[in-house]
C-alpha cells in the first residue's frame, strides 16, 4: 500500500521544506529525529514509510512531486502547463528586494516554476485531474499562475468529465501580486461552481500547513474534504490570532482533528492508506457515473461555456467569446497589457 518511492527510485531528492521548522528537515545523514516523539529514525526507513514516523505517525511534509509520485499509478502522470510562469505585474519590492528577483531565487531553490503542479494521472486505475501545492515555492502562496494553472486543471476535469483531486498546503494569497492574487480565490471557486454544475466531483486533501486564501477558497469548496493527521489548517494564522486576541489558543487548535470535531472536514486520511481511500472514493463516483450512463445513455455532461482548447503539453489555445460588457472585447488569444 505504501510506496517506498524515495528509496525505490531515488528520483526525488529529499528536500528540506523552506518553512522555518528546522526540526522537520531531513538532512543528508542517515538519521532524523521525529519532531513529535523525538525518536531517532533511519532516513531510508522513514522514506519507505511515506515520511510518516513509524512510531508516532507524525506526517512529515512532502513536496508536490513527491505527493504525486506517492499517489499516481506508475508512469501515468502527465503534467499540464509546465511552462506558464509568474510575472511581476505590480513592480513589487519589499525590504529584501524585488518580487522579480525573488522569483528567480525561488525557482532555483525549489526547482519549480510555480507553487502548483497540475496534470492528469490515474489512481488505482481511476482517471483523475491533479493540482498539488509545493510549499517550497514561496510557501505555496496563491498568485496568478497558481490560479491560472488551477483553473485550467478544473476546466479540463470538467471537459473530460474526470474527478479533480487538489492537494493543498499554503500560507495563503501571494502578497507580491496584490489584488491579482486575491482574485484567484474568486476565479478558482467560480471554476469549481461550473465543475459542480457539470456533476464532476472535487476531492480536496488538506495538508500541513493550510491557511488564508487557500482555506477560504477552492480547498474547502469540495465534495469530500480530507485532511492529513495533525495538519494545521485555518483561516487566520495562530500567531496573528494570539497577537490580536491576546488569548491563549486551545489545545489542538486548528489541527485536522480539531477541524473534524468542529464539522469542517469529512475524514482524516492517514498517508499510509491514502491511495486506498482515494481509490475507494473514486470508485464510488465512477460507479455512480457509470450507473447514470447505463440508465440514460445520452450524455449528462455539459461542456463548459467558455471553451478552452488545451493540449497535454500545456500549450494553450484558448477561445473566450467576446464579452458583452460594454467596451470590452478581450480574449486570451489577445492578452491584455499586463499579460505578457
Amino acid at each position: 500500500m505504501v510506496r517506498s518511492f524515495f528509496h525505490r527510485h531515488g528520483k526525488f531528492q529529499p528536500v528540506a521544506p523552506d518553512d522555518g521548522r528546522a526540526e522537520q528537515k531531513i538532512p543528508d545523514d542517515l538519521w532524523v529525529k521525529c519532531p513529535r516523539c523525538q525518536e531517532l529514525l533511519y532516513s531510508k526507513q522513514l522514506e519507505q514509510n511515506a515520511r510518516v514516523c513509524p512510531k508516532c505517525a507524525y506526517h512529515f511534509r512532502l513536496r508536490a512531486r513527491e505527493r504525486i509520485f506517492l499517489l499516481a499509478d506508475d508512469g501515468t502522470f502527465h503534467e499540464w502547463d509546465k511552462d506558464i510562469a509568474p510575472r511581476d505585474p505590480l513592480g513589487f519590492a519589499d525590504g529584501s528586494g524585488t518580487y522579480a528577483e525573488k522569483l528567480v531565487t525561488t525557482r532555483r531553490k525549489s526547482g519549480e516554476t510555480e507553487a502548483l503542479v497540475t496534470g492528469r494521472a490515474t489512481i488505482g486505475g481511476h482517471r483523475v485531474a491533479l493540482a498539488v501545492c509545493d510549499f517550497d515555492f514561496l510557501g505555496a502562496s496563491m498568485g496568478s499562475v497558481f490560479g491560472e494553472k488551477l483553473v485550467r486543471a478544473i476546466e479540463r476535469a470538467g471537459d473530460r468529465n474526470i474527478p479533480l483531486l487538489t492537494i493543498s498546503a499554503s500560507g495563503g494569497a501571494r502578497m507580491h501580486e496584490g489584488m491579482f492574487s486575491l482574485m484567484q480565490m474568486a476565479k478558482s471557486v467560480a471554476a469549481l461552481a461550473r465543475l459542480g454544475n457539470a456533476g464532476v466531483p472535487h476531492i480536496s486533501l488538506l495538508t500541513d500547513p493550510c491557511y488564508g486564501g487557500v482555506t477560504a477558497s477552492y480547498a474547502t469548496v469540495a465534495d469530500v474534504i480530507l485532511a492529513e493527521p495533525g495538519a494545521l489548517i485555518g483561516f487566520a494564522g495562530p500567531r496573528v490570532i494570539e497577537q490580536i486576541t491576546k488569548q491563549k489558543l486551545p489545545e489542538g487548535f486548528q489541527t485536522a482533528e480539531f477541524l473534524l470535531q468542529h464539522g469542517m472536514i469529512d475524514l482524516i486520511a492517514e498517508r499510509t492508506s491514502l491511495r486506498t481511500t482515494l481509490t475507494t472514493l473514486l470508485a464510488h463516483y465512477g460507479r455512480a457515473a457509470d450507473h447514470q450512463a447505463m440508465l440514460n445513455p445520452a450524455p449528462r455532461h455539459r461542456p463548459s461555456e467558455v471553451a478552452l482548447t488545451l493540449t497535454e503539453q500545456g500549450v494553450v489555445a484558448a477561445h473566450v467569446p467576446a464579452l458583452s460588457l460594454a467596451g470590452r472585447s478581450v480574449s486570451h488569444a489577445e492578452p491584455s497589457p499586463h499579460h505578457e
Binding site: 471557486v189 461550473r194 482555506t215 477558497s217 474547502t220 483561516f235 490580536i244 460594454a326
Partner: protein, 305 residues
Amino acid sequence: MSDQVDDLVSAHSTALIGVNGGPPAVTGTAPRPTAWDRVKLARHPERPRTLDYIERLTTGFIEMHGDRSAGDDQALIGGMAQFGDRTVMVLGHQKGRATNENIARNFGMPRPEGYRKAERLMTHAAKFGLPVVSFIDTPGADPGISSEERGQGVAIAESLLTMADLPVPLVAVVIGEGGSGGALAIGVADRLLMLENAIYAVASPEGCAAILWKDAAKAPEAAETMRITAPELLRFEIIDAVIPEPTPAHLAAEATIKAVGAAIAHHLDALESAYLRGDPRGGDRLRADRYAKFRRIGSWRDGPF
C-alpha cells in the same frame, strides 16, 4: 489624524472616473494623494458607512438577521429594500463610529455567521430575482478563536461559491476598506465599483509590512507597492469603474452617497438590459459572462521561464 487627513483634501484630484477599462480622466493639477493617504481616507471614522447608504438611497429596508444556524453577525448586515423602482437585496459590512458601536459591530470584521447570512440572503435574492447590491467596507474577516472554530475559511469559500453562481445581477461598491478575503466574500460581482479614495488589498498594508519588511511601520511603503488604490485597480481591470470623490467622502457624505447611488442604478440598468430583458434564461448568460470576467484575471507569461 483627522486634521492631517483634511489637509490632504486640497491636494486632491477632483474628478476621476473610468468605466469598463477606459482610462481614467484626471483633471486638476494638484498632486495625487499617495496610497497611504488614501488608506487613511478610506478608514476615516466619519466616512459614510453601509447603513448611511441604505438610509439615503433606499426605502422600506427590512433588515434580515441571522444565518439560521448559529448567530446574527452585526458586522455584515443585509435585507430587502426598495431602490428606485426595484426591490433589491442589500448586503454590506458595517463598521461602528463610537467605541460601543465598534465593539458591537466587531470593527466591521465579519464572523462565519456573517458570511453564512450573506449566503442565505443571496440565495433568497436568486429565488425572487432580486439584484444584489453590496457595500464593501471591512478591515478583513474576524481573526478570532471562535471564528476559526466555526469555520471562517469554509464560510468565506461557500459565500464565494454561491455568489459566483447566482443568476441575478450583482453590483458591489468598495466604499471604504476592502480588506482581503473578508471583502471578496461579498464582492464576486458583475460590476465592481470603487470610490476614488477607497482601497482594496490582498492584506492590510500593516500586515504586509510586518511580514515582508518585518516592520509594520513600513506600511506606507507597502501600501504604495501593493497597488491598492482605485485608479491602479481600474488600470489592472480588476475593478470596473471608479466613482469620483471631488471632495473626500467624509467631508461630502451627501454628494458621495448620491454619486454611488447613481452609479449603482446605472450598472443595474445596464446589466438588466444586457441580460434579463426579454430573456427568461438570461441568468445563465449573466453567470457565464461573470465567469469569463473572473476567469481572465491574472498576470502570467505563457512561455518558458
